[in-house]
Structure formats: structure tokens, C-alpha cells
Symmetry: C2
Subunit: 256 residues, 2 copies
């Protein structure tokens, strides 16, 4: 059978091989076959050796598909879109464009959040609470104690979020009072005192007075705060003594 020197013989413009088509559109061969598989791009005819042969129109179609796919449109939607009438198509394009803008805004926000990853709590807690924790640090309270406080706020946020605003006000007011600040710091420093240190007796006395004047009742606290108390106890024997003594005195007051 005589042969005509050139490979471009098919009478209907089917000249590109799958590799040439893919390169033209900037995709992989696998991608083109995938689009055939899902019916997004029609299967072209085959040449004598079973190779797919594509027309220039296929290149246009493929690039239109990629343009939409790159913009994040699911393949299933693209199929419908390509067969839509111009008005509907234009409407869809407008929507997709808005979606893209939304994604850009999202990414911009993620970018700024990424920058804050170094410090753990800023991401988890509202800024007012972060300010309170920073205030504790500025007072000289240990990081260990601040972390316990942070956990209390996280649990509160998860379990009892509606009390947050009031608690934030209360806590800030408390730290405006010099006696409160003094007691916080004293408790913090007592962490490595021995449980029978005489200074502890004095501190417990002061704390009990503070609780009665501030109408705080340890036994009335919600469960998660009692839990935080128990974690405080675990931290050191002296703190365990403080928590136990205050709880005991509060119970006694309740009975009377």
C-alpha cells in the first residue's frame, strides 16, 4: 500500500496526537484520558494503529476546560457549563469569579494566621482573654500558672461560652485591685514552699478573707473550674494544701 510521506492524512482535521494536544494545553496525557473517561472531552477517532487523533477544536475545548478547572470548578460542573447557553454561562462565570475572590481573601487571612503560629493561645482565644494572660505575665506570674489559667479559659469557651464576657470583666476588675495582684503573686511564689511552711498559714488566711469579701465560693464553681483547681493541686504540695484548706473553709461557711 503506497504511503504519502506525511502523517496528516485523516480528512477531518484529526492531526494531533494525545501528547501534542496535552502539551498544547499544558496538561499531562493522563489528564486528557481522564477527561475522556469522565465524558468531559469526547473521545476522538483513532488512526490505523489505534492512536487517538485530535482536531484543533479539541485544543480549544481542552484549554477552556482547564481554565475553568484551574479556577477550582469541579469537573462535573464544567461539563454542564460548556453546554450552557451564553447568558447562563456568563452568570456562572460571574459566580465563579466571586468564589475566586473569596478564596483569595481566605488565603490572605490564613497567611496572617500562619504568622501567629509561634504563640499558641492567640489562635485559640479571643484577644480580650489573651490580654488578660499577657497581663498576668507582665505581673511576673509564672508561665506554668499562666498555662493553667489559659486551659481554664479554653474549657470555659468550649463548655460555657456565654459566661465569657462577664468573666473577662470580673478578671480585669480583679487585677485592677492591688491586694488581688499581691495574692496572685504570693500564691505563684509559694509553689515550691514546703507544705508546712508557716508563711502558707498566713497566705491561706489572706486568701480566705479575699474570697469572702469577693463573694467567691470555690464549691459553687462549675465542674471544669473545679477540675482546673485539681490540676493546680497536682502541680505542687503547697498548692494542694492551699486548695484543700480553702475548700474546707468554704464548706464550713455553707453549713452554718
Amino acid at each position: 500500500m503506497p504511503h504519502d510521506a506525511t502523517a496528516y492524512e485523516d480528512p477531518r482535521g484529526m492531526v494531533l496526537t494525545i501528547g501534542q494536544l496535552a502539551a498544547t494545553a499544558g496538561v499531562t496525557v493522563r489528564t486528557v484520558r481522564h477527561y475522556h473517561h469522565v465524558g468531559l472531552l469526547p473521545e476522538p477517532e483513532r488512526d490505523a494503529s489505534g492512536y487517538r487523533r485530535y482536531s484543533a477544536q479539541a485544543a480549544v475545548d481542552l484549554i477552556r476546560i482547564r481554565t475553568l478547572a484551574d479556577a477550582g470548578v469541579p469537573l462535573a460542573r464544567i461539563d454542564a457549563l460548556l453546554h450552557a447557553r451564553p447568558t447562563e454561562f456568563a452568570a456562572a462565570i460571574t459566580g465563579i469569579d466571586a468564589e475566586l475572590q473569596r478564596k483569595i481573601d481566605q488565603l490572605t487571612e490564613y497567611r496572617s494566621r500562619i504568622a501567629e503560629l509561634a504563640s499558641g493561645e492567640r489562635l485559640v482565644l479571643p484577644p480580650e482573654v489573651v490580654a488578660i494572660l499577657d497581663r498576668m505575665r507582665a505581673l511576673g506570674i509564672s508561665e506554668q500558672r499562666v498555662r493553667l489559667e489559659r486551659d481554664a479559659w479554653i474549657l470555659m469557651q468550649a463548655l460555657d461560652p456565654h459566661v465569657m464576657p462577664q468573666r473577662i470583666r470580673d478578671k480585669n476588675a480583679a487585677f485592677d485591685d492591688p491586694e488581688t495582684r499581691r495574692l496572685y503573686l504570693a500564691v505563684d511564689q509559694s509553689v515550691d514552699w514546703p507544705p508546712n511552711d508557716p508563711r502558707l498559714d498566713r497566705l491561706i488566711e489572706d486568701l480566705d478573707t479575699w474570697e469572702t469579701t469577693h463573694e467567691q465560693d470555690t464549691a459553687q464553681q462549675p465542674g471544669y473550674l473545679r477540675l482546673v483547681s485539681s490540676r493546680i493541686s497536682e502541680t505542687s504540695p503547697s498548692w494542694q494544701r492551699i486548695v484543700a484548706a480553702l475548700t474546707h473553709r468554704a464548706e464550713q461557711r455553707r453549713r452554718s
Copy 2:
């Protein structure tokens, strides 16, 4: 077994259920379980009924994971990242941030490409070629003919890209010549003449003269352009006659 009114009894701060934890971090319950499955978040202990119970620290960990995951970091990489030392972590964060910026730029470009989707060829062909096609339209050449021309350019780009610049210059020079413009238009208008129309004889004569003066040889063209010729032939009987006549005359000149 007596019970204590509140559910927060575990001594080690394991208080949140999986749903509460998920809500705190803004993810689904399924996502948390998935992270356990892939070992990204450690499995917490279970309460008496087999429910998972989480600490506040788990919330911090989960939100850190999500912050990275939202930024597009694969889960497999997050695992390593969370255990990295601060300097390495900071370096990785910088890289991720750059990657995010790149994505934002990408999306911005996709946005502008989406806007051009209405017209097919702008995405596929370089602007110089689009200008040529627009020039043909401005001359009054039919859209059918322009599309054939467009396909020729697409095939050229895919199969023979290095000749593009020269072809672009040639084509623009050709359209600077009034006689060339006249002939293009005349051929275009002849599309629905009968093949035996006497005006066709005159037109073929003019085209042959043009070919010889412009040193164009139809038989020397690359295969894909011959193919486009064959598609032109298919469009109408009169065009078929033109192509056949010109090919025949070119052959005769070659033999002599």
C-alpha cells in the same frame, strides 16, 4: 456506684467530648477521628462508656493543626512540623507563607483568564495571532473562514511552533497589500457560488497570479496546512474547485 452530679470527674483535665473539641476548633467530628487514625493527634483516654475525653491542650494542638492544614500543608508534613525545633519550624513557616502568596497570585491570574473565557481563541493563541484574526473579521471575512484560519494557527503552534514569528510577519505584510485583501474577500464571498459560475474562472486566474508573484507553493506546504486546505474544500463546492484548480496549476509548474 454513687455518682457526683457533674460529668467532669477525670482527674487529669480530660473533659471535652469529641464533639465539643471539634466545635472549638471549627472542624467536624469525622476530621478529629481522621487525625487520630493517621496519628496526627494522639488518641485520648476513654471514659467509663468508651467515649473519648480531651484536655484543653488537645484544643490548642488541634487548632495548630488546622491552621497549618488550612494553609494547604499536607497532613503528613504537619506531623513532622509540630515536632520540629523552633528554628526549623520558623523556616518552614516562612516557606509556607511564600507558597500561600504564590497561590494568591495564581488565583488572581485565573480570575483574569476566566473573564476571557467568552472568546475561545484569546486563551489558546498568542495576542499577535489574535490580532490577525481580528483584522480578518474587520475586513468583513466570514466567521466560518476565520475559524478555519484559527485552526490552522493552533495546529501550527502545536506542531511547528518555531515558524510562528515568521508566519505572523508574513501574514501581516500580506494584509497590508490591497490586492491580497481583495482576493481574501473575493474568495470568502464565493463560498455559495455554483462551481461553474464564470466569476470563479476569473478568481482562480487572479489567485494563481498572486501565488506565483508571492512565491507560494501549495504543494510545498506542511501537511497540517494541506489538511486545512482539505477542510476548506469540504466547506463548499466552489471552494473545492478553487483549491483543486490551484493545486493542479502548481503541479504543472513544478513539472516544467
